[in-house]
């Protein structure tokens, strides 16, 4: 081999070494979340953190995110969550770093530290100092803590609205709600001779909206979170805030920057963006090899008071009252700038100009009022629909589970009797059988609890005119009908029909049936797209039917039409008719479907007449 070959070989070896050095090591980060998606500050934090971490690291990073606490009142047992986390790393590299986000996740990680990769560094992020308590951080642990100063927020409120006498505190009902009620009740003692605090964790979402719509004068609302209501329903901040802003008769305040722009007036706010940036910096240092206990940052405090200009205007708060150093965001055009064009055109005629402005302002106010009104109705309808969906789903899940559970329990029971009779009984066998039965019983109780929850769901029954409900439902879909070139025939009975029912829910059923009919005629040539709505008021009951000239009900759906998740639509979930049936059943009525002799399908809703006579008395 000549010297040239040696050189070539050496070069090749160097290349190999270089390329194996360049082989990227994927860093594994396990993120433990406190709540499911929907908590705005935590969602914003997590989103930022993932981006900042990816950008700041030289090597690629693989993030496994697991929610440790549930949104709702009944969660999976901790042990099951721990097992799940361990099993998700069973056949791959262990995490290089565990990051908890929020208070409940930090408690969880510390409690189960010994079972959750004790050698992996743990970073407790976005956690209020109060959750860390007195327990010192371990050898391999670090924290990026925050100090939520809600007393300061209350002081901000008193400064901008000095006449405030009551504060309505929205925390939701889950673990987060309970924690903050306890903490804040203590913090707020210092305001006791000036303010009354109203707590809300025992309210359902519907009740919360209702309460906030009729708060006494000089009340302010402090919003912390609302992931779970008193019935265990799951909610997301964004929707809750939108609904609250539309219905509440008092201004909203919040202490975290993620809430600005969602309808809150403002206050001293913790900057979520700063927090996620500093957390990513700490995480990067640890991933690059710094011992966790040496990377310590002081807890983050709220930043300067920040306000939403639009909300300041809405609640008539002059900027002169804002604490010094306040930041005002979302500043809109002034009236002059907004109407300058109009003003210049009318410059020659001052009278006309002022009239014009007055007219415009009036129109604007009318429009705002109408918008507010329609948002309020929508909010209520959307909530009813969420509840109905939840009811229908839980009900069908409970139903589906009870069958296999019955079989399991019978089997366990039979086995126990058999081994006892055969003398094959041992302590271990006894324990196993007892465990199966206990767990079966527990599952049964969960199902029972859901049943009770469903039963307790009250219908908001009032005397309603069925024909008016039909007319309103038709109005809601009228535009869509016209756009899709569908003709309607409305054939309502001449007899007036008042029944006792939940107007919002019954309207939802009708809209659902109408939308289904509209989808059914989509394939029919425009000239024959026809939907007929008729009512038949009889002595015992009233029958409402919706017929279409569409493709009819496919034979394979026979008997399963009202079962959840059965659908013929590529874009549907298949729960509309399940919900419709749940609503009609709750009214003591029935819903049926059949194919018409000359094509298309008809859905009929029959509501009992007992309701009719009842309502008339």
């Amino acid at each position: 081999m000549g010297s040239r070959s040696y050189a070539a070989l050496a070069f090749w070896l160097v290349l190999c070494a270089a390329s194996s050095d360049a082989q990227p090591v994927v860093r594994q980060v396990l993120v433990l979340q406190s709540v499911d998606r929907g908590n705005l500050p935590i969602d914003r934090f997590t989103g930022n953190f993932r981006v900042d971490l990816g950008e700041g690291l030289e090597t690629p990073v693989n993030i496994t995110q697991i929610s440790v606490a549930t949104t709702g009142l009944v969660g999976a047992p901790d042990q099951a969550v721990v097992d799940y986390i361990r099993s998700s790393f069973a056949d791959r590299a262990k995490p290089d770093l565990i990051v908890t986000i929020g208070g409940p996740a930090s408690l969880f990680a510390r409690k189960y530290r010994q079972r959750l990769f004790p050698d992996t560094p743990l970073l407790l992020a976005s956690v209020d100092q109060r959750y860390l308590g007195d327990a010192p951080l371990g050898e391999n642990e670090s924290a990026v803590a925050v100090v939520n100063d809600f007393s300061r927020l209350v002081e901000d409120i008193l400064q901008v609205l000095p006449e405030t006498t009551q504060v309505f505190v929205v925390t939701g009902s889950g673990v987060i709600g309970q924690f903050w009620h306890r903490e804040l009740e203590n913090d707020f003692k210092r305001f006791h001779n000036r303010l009354t605090f109203i707590w809300s964790e025992d309210l359902t979402f519907q009740e919360l909206l209702r309460r906030s719509a009729s708060l006494p004068k000089h009340t302010a609302i402090v919003y912390l979170a609302f992931s779970t209501d008193a019935q265990g329903g799951a909610y997301a901040d964004e929707r809750v805030l939108a609904d609250l802003q539309a219905t509440a008769n008092a201004p909203l305040f919040a202490g975290q920057s993620a809430f600005l722009g969602t309808g809150v007036v403002g206050g001293s706010m913790l900057s979520i963006d700063d927090l996620s940036r500093s957390t990513a910096e700490v995480a990067i240092q640890i991933l690059n090899g710094a011992p966790a206990s040496t990377v310590q940052v002081p807890p983050q405090l709220p930043g300067p008071p920040t306000f939403d200009w639009r909300e300041l205007r809405r609640w008539n708060i002059p900027e002169s009252r804002l604490p010094s150093g306040s930041i005002v965001r979302y500043r809109g055009p002034s009236l002059w700038r907004e109407y300058r064009g109009t003003a210049i055109t009318a410059a020659g005629a001052l009278v006309i100009q002022s009239l014009l402005i007055v007219a415009l302002l009036h129109q604007r106010r009318e429009r705002q009022r109408a918008e507010l009104e329609s948002r309020r109705n929508l909010a209520l309808a959307a909530d009813a629909s969420r509840r109905a969906t939840m009811s229908a789903l839980t009900s069908s899940i409970a139903h589906e589970l009870s069958q296999p559970l019955s079989a399991m329990m019978y089997n366990a029971h039979a086995l126990q009797l058999m081994v006892t009779a055969n003398g094959a009984y041992s302590d271990t066998l006894g324990e196993i059988l007892a465990d199966i039965q206990t767990q079966g019983l527990r599952a049964t109780q969960i199902i029972d609890r859901h049943r009770t929850m469903l039963r307790s769901r009250q219908l908001d029954k009032t005397p309603i005119d069925i024909h008016a409900v039909i007319t309103e439902s038709l109005a809601l879909v009228a535009q869509d009908m016209a756009a899709r070139q569908i003709e309607t025939t409305v054939n309502l009975s001449a007899k007036r029909c008042v029944i006792s029912g939940d107007q919002v829910l019954l309207q939802q059923v009708l809209v659902n049936l109408l939308m289904n009919a509209m989808d059914a005629v989509a394939e029919t040539p425009p000239a024959r797209r026809h939907i007929t709505i008729r009512t038949d008021v009889r002595a015992d009951d009233v029958e409402i039917s919706v017929s279409d000239t569409g493709t009819g009900l496919p034979a394979e759906l026979d008997g399963t039409l009202f079962t959840p998740f059965v659908t013929t639509k590529s874009h549907g979930l298949g729960i509309g008719l399940t919900i419709a049936r749940t609503i009609i059943a709750a009214h003591g009525g029935t819903i049926d479907a059949y194919n018409n002799p000359n094509g298309g399908a008809t859905f009929t809703v029959t509501l009992r007449n007992s309701a009719v006579t009842h309502a008339l008395h």
Binding site: A398, H399, S406, H413, A421, T444
Partner: protein, 126 residues
């Protein structure tokens, strides 16, 4: 129960296979002779004369409630125990109107069901 007597027959009308088999095992373990049917029609065709029948409400074809109605109309005295996974309002009332001796929501508490059947057996042998 006296072991020298032939075991008492308990009919089960249940369309869910695993639940039907398991209930059969439990009945046998307690000392009854299970007679299993997967539909109301199959029960009517066999026209058994059991100690009692455990009938599910939701069955393909004729429902458990219809079966109850039909047996009562035919003057059959077989006590009927109704089970259902369906908790819609009014089911229990309808089952009771048709004269069921007992009503269970699924998942059924096996001990309670066996106690009910045993008390029927006790009544029939005295």
């Amino acid at each position: 129960m006296n072991p020298s007597n032939p075991p008492l027959v308990v009919a089960v009308v249940e369309d869910d296979g695993p639940a039907r088999t398991a209930l059969g095992r439990l009945l046998r373990a307690v000392g009854f002779e299970p007679a299993l049917f997967e539909s109301a029609e199959a029960y009517i065709e066999a026209s058994p004369a059991p100690l009692c029948a455990v009938v599910d409400v939701q069955l393909p074809g004729m429902s458990g409630i219809d079966l109850q109605h039909r047996l009562r109309a035919a003057g059959t005295a077989t006590p009927i125990i109704v089970t259902t996974a369906n908790h819609e309002a009014g089911i229990r009332e309808r089952a009771e109107q048709n004269g069921c001796v007992s009503f269970f929501l699924k998942p059924v508490d096996g001990s309670a069901l066996m106690t009910t059947i045993a008390s029927l057996a006790h009544r029939s042998t005295h």
